[in-house]
């Protein structure tokens, strides 16, 4: 074994195999050789001591915005991929709302080349559904699939025309890839900047009703049933959407999957109210009825779909737990300071989420709403299944490595976590160019310590702490 690495003495959690035990993970030539009771490794092989840490398959994020090509002031593939591995993500799926849009094989190849050069996380490109994301004509889905696209989406621009959506779902069956829709009925969401509720009403801002999301989710479930295509509902945010998905999964007539973001699981509309100046440092929503301070209209909490109500977050956590929701995805949406230093109307939608995802989600474990193996499953096996990379056979058919598991032959992607470590979010230390998060200054528990991609250590928080260069 020429190129091996041994991770020893950690608590291995591999939901795909039902493993939760202390042991070793041996990776050689980029793939997992074994994971389980102490195996030891070849002489001279580098050893990563994981004593006291949790060792999991590398996280998979189905939904990130890397902004390249075209908006490199917000993020590049290299900075986004570094942010990914710092967040424990070894695979990220890049949304096509770039400039030019990723609506043809050439742009798809460009993104894959840039990711290859960065050499950090695996970057899997998502192609557009429609040419130029204009919602009129289908993009070259077949050619993009051949080039390496793993799904199709006009993200940010919902596929509003039902017939185009029907055609996309029908046509995509030739590729076997999902159509990922950002469900938001434009005529209902209109110019809404927050959730339509008390906070928007109080702040005098236009809101988006929950129904704007739910009507399109219902439509897409119907169309998936009609066409036999795969639909993946992006970043679901409401209790009503969850009910629709639960019903659809029970009926079993439509091939539908879904994802939820950490912020929709844990943050609510009140975050737009701003907080006490200087910040309390805790993960608690501002008092909805208290006096506003000049920190009100916190544009960092402007995201699409909007942060909803506490009832919605609780329902989403339930859905995550019972498996109605397949995956946690960050919808990492980096923006420049200028994009957010303006009025709520003008501010860009989006939260920079890769580097806070695990810590934020871990608060669900901390407060007893979710067990750690389930959380890990929704960040590994769940998204791997959506990608069709969860079994050797399906992965081979999709042209992807086996992902989201530590079984022998899987990609050598491993994340090491310290669930007890507390850390304060400090965006000045972000690898992402996007410092736009309402979590600035908040103390989170649960930290990503090391990340290994294809057998290479690409992130070491402890080395970062001591100022050593990051192994690349």
């Amino acid at each position: 074994m020429t190129d091996a690495i041994l991770v020893t003495g950690g608590r291995i959690i591999d939901p795909a195999q039902g493993i939760d035990a202390v042991g070793d993970v041996l990776i050689a030539d980029g793939v997992v050789v074994s994971a389980g009771p102490v195996v030891g490794g070849p002489v001279d092989c580098p050893v990563v001591d994981a004593t006291g840490l949790v060792v999991t398959p590398g996280f998979i994020d189905l939904h990130v915005h890397l902004r390249e090509p075209g908006q490199e002031d917000k993020e590049t593939i290299a900075t986004g991929a570094l942010a990914a591995v710092r967040g424990g993500f070894t695979t990220v799926c890049a949304m096509p709302n770039t400039e030019p849009a990723m609506d043809n094989a050439a742009v798809i190849r460009h993104v894959m080349d840039a990711a290859q050069q960065a050499g950090l996380a695996r970057v899997l490109p998502i192609g557009c559904v429609s040419r130029g994301r204009a919602g009129k004509e289908l993009a070259d889905m077949g050619e993009m699939a051949e080039a390496g696209a793993i799904g199709f989406s006009d993200d940010g621009a919902p596929v509003a025309d039902p017939t185009l959506m029907r055609n996309a779902l029908t046509y995509s069956t030739t590729t076997g890839l999902p159509v990922i829709n950002h469900c938001e009925e434009p005529s209902l969401a209109k110019d809404g900047v927050l959730h339509e509720g008390w906070v928007a009403s109080r702040l005098g801002l236009p809101g988006q009703p929950a129904a704007a999301e739910e009507t399109m989710v219902a439509r897409d479930i119907d169309l998936a049933g009609l066409t036999g295509g795969k639909v993946h509902i992006a970043h679901i945010s409401t209790e009503g959407t969850l009910a629709l998905l639960r019903q659809a999964k029970a009926a079993g007539k439509a091939n539908v999957t879904s994802e939820v973001t950490p912020h929709h699981l844990l943050l609510t509309e009140e975050w737009a109210l701003g907080g006490i100046e200087g910040g309390a440092g805790e993960l608690t929503a501002p008092d909805p009825y208290g006096p506003l301070t000049r920190t009100a209209y916190d544009t960092r909490a402007k995201v699409n779909p909007p942060l909803r109500t506490e009832d919605d977050t609780l329902a989403l956590v339930e859905g995550l737990k019972d498996g109605t929701i397949d995956a946690i995805a960050t919808d990492h949406a980096p923006h420049t300071a200028t994009d957010k230093c303006c009025t709520m109307h003008e501010a860009a939608f989006g939260i920079s989420g890769l580097e806070t995802a695990f810590g934020l989600c871990y608060s669900l474990v901390e407060r007893g709403d979710l067990d750690l193996p389930t959380l890990i499953a929704r960040m590994t096996t769940g998204p791997a299944r959506v990608l069709g990379a969860d079994t050797s056979e399906s992965a081979a058919a999709s042209g992807l490595p086996l992902l989201g598991t530590l079984q022998a032959g899987a990609a050598g992607d491993v994340t090491l976590l310290d669930p007890d470590a507390e850390w304060a979010v400090d965006t000045s230390g972000f690898a992402s160019k996007g410092r736009n998060t309402p979590l600035e200054g908040i103390t989170l528990q649960g930290r990503v310590i090391k990340t290994i991609v294809g057998g290479r250590l690409v992130h070491d928080a402890l080395a970062d702490d001591t100022g050593e260069a990051n192994g690349k």
Binding site: L292, T293, R294, C342
Partner: protein
């Protein structure tokens, strides 16, 4: 100028008038550096402004209306939306107190050259503005300004659909003047509540002062969450607010009736069928007032669409306080400038 606390300053400024008012005066209270909305202002602070406004109004009745109190202070108005009455009111208030008043509009200013609001207000602060009076079409713009400024005080002169605190203060001043007190008064606001910054600030002020606001209008123009009572739980500041789409029921026993201007855009947006139907179903007219609240005071934040939300006879009738509101607006803005534009005392945050 020496730095004195607002309370003392106020007495100094208007001593000749204040001594004529023979009533026990509670201590003046004011802790705000900015006036962004009334949600952050306490009932005691509102009382302070209203009392000071009364003294200002008395001053307006004198032959020589000008006082030297704010000499050497600079007030800038920055309006990104057309406005006549509010801007003139602030400008006059500043000038009557001898401040230098400089008016800027987005028309021809740097905002049209792509300069951000933050850069604009920082420039004005660096140009020695003591008070910045802001109107902006985007809700929350004055908060963005206040967040960026450490020396200049911001007065919100209307931000989007969010707040118009000086209008609410002048409304409360007018009610108090006409009816003696605010507590227990049924104040019916009729019209496009959901797009109204006046209604929002009135709600905060009236609730804080113990009045009973009643919101009335077509359901498509009501704040959705209040209309549906989705979330009127414990601690909600508007638990005492009544919401009523039937104007006949809303007006029953009203002490004050305040129709709001109906914008023509609401029809185009599909929120209302027609002006005609609106007038028929929600117009404040004499027949309705005589039937339900013959003693009620009628107010309007202006400008009025006579024949739409208010009938001409009511607009100009004996019960109308509309013109008085304009004078009161001047008095209230003088009182606020006096409090905010004078050198900051030790009790500001």
């Amino acid at each position: 100028m020496t730095s004195i606390r607002p309370a003392r300053r106020e007495q100094t400024a208007v001593a000749p008038v204040a001594t004529q008012i023979a009533e026990p005066t509670p201590p003046a209270v004011w802790r705000q550096r900015h006036l962004l909305d009334l949600d952050a202002v306490s009932p005691e602070e509102i009382t302070t402004v209203l009392r000071s406004s009364k003294a200002m109004k008395a001053m307006l009745r004198r032959e020589v209306k000008k006082a030297p109190t704010l000499r050497g202070r600079t007030i800038m108005t920055l309006f990104s939306e057309p406005s006549t009455r509010t801007r003139v009111s602030f400008e006059t208030a500043g000038k009557l107190l001898s401040a230098d008043v400089i008016n800027l509009s987005s028309n021809g200013s740097s905002t049209e050259k792509g300069e951000s609001l933050v850069d604009t207000v920082l420039t004005l602060q660096a140009s020695a503005a003591d008070v910045l009076v802001m109107r902006h079409s985007h809700s929350g713009a004055p908060y963005l300004a206040a967040k960026s400024l450490d020396r200049t005080s911001v007065i919100n002169a209307g931000d989007g659909a969010h707040a118009h605190p000086t209008q609410a203060l002048l409304d409360m001043f007018t009610i108090q003047e006409r009816l003696g007190e605010l507590e227990g008064k049924r104040v019916v606001i009729v019209g496009d509540i959901s797009h109204s910054r006046v209604a929002r600030s009135d709600l905060w002020g009236l609730c804080k002062m113990g009045a009973t606001p009643v919101l009335c209008g077509p359901p498509t123009l009501m704040p959705w969450d209040l209309l549906n009572r989705r979330r009127i739980d414990e601690g909600h500041p508007f638990t005492g607010v009544e919401v009523e789409t039937d104007i006949e029921r809303a007006l029953d026993g009203a002490d004050v009736v305040m129709p709001l201007r109906l914008q023509k855009e609401r029809m185009a947006a599909g929120l209302l069928p027609s002006v005609r139907e609106y007038a028929r179903m929600w117009q404040v007219n004499q027949e309705r007032l005589s039937r339900h609240c013959p003693q009620a005071v009628v107010m309007h934040p202006g400008p009025m669409n006579e024949g739409v939300e208010i009938s001409p006879d009511v607009a100009h009738g004996a019960a109308s306080a509309v013109e008085e509101q304009v004078t009161n607006g001047l008095a209230v803005r003088m009182a606020l400038l006096l409090i905010l534009a004078a050198p900051h005392g030790g009790d500001h945050d």
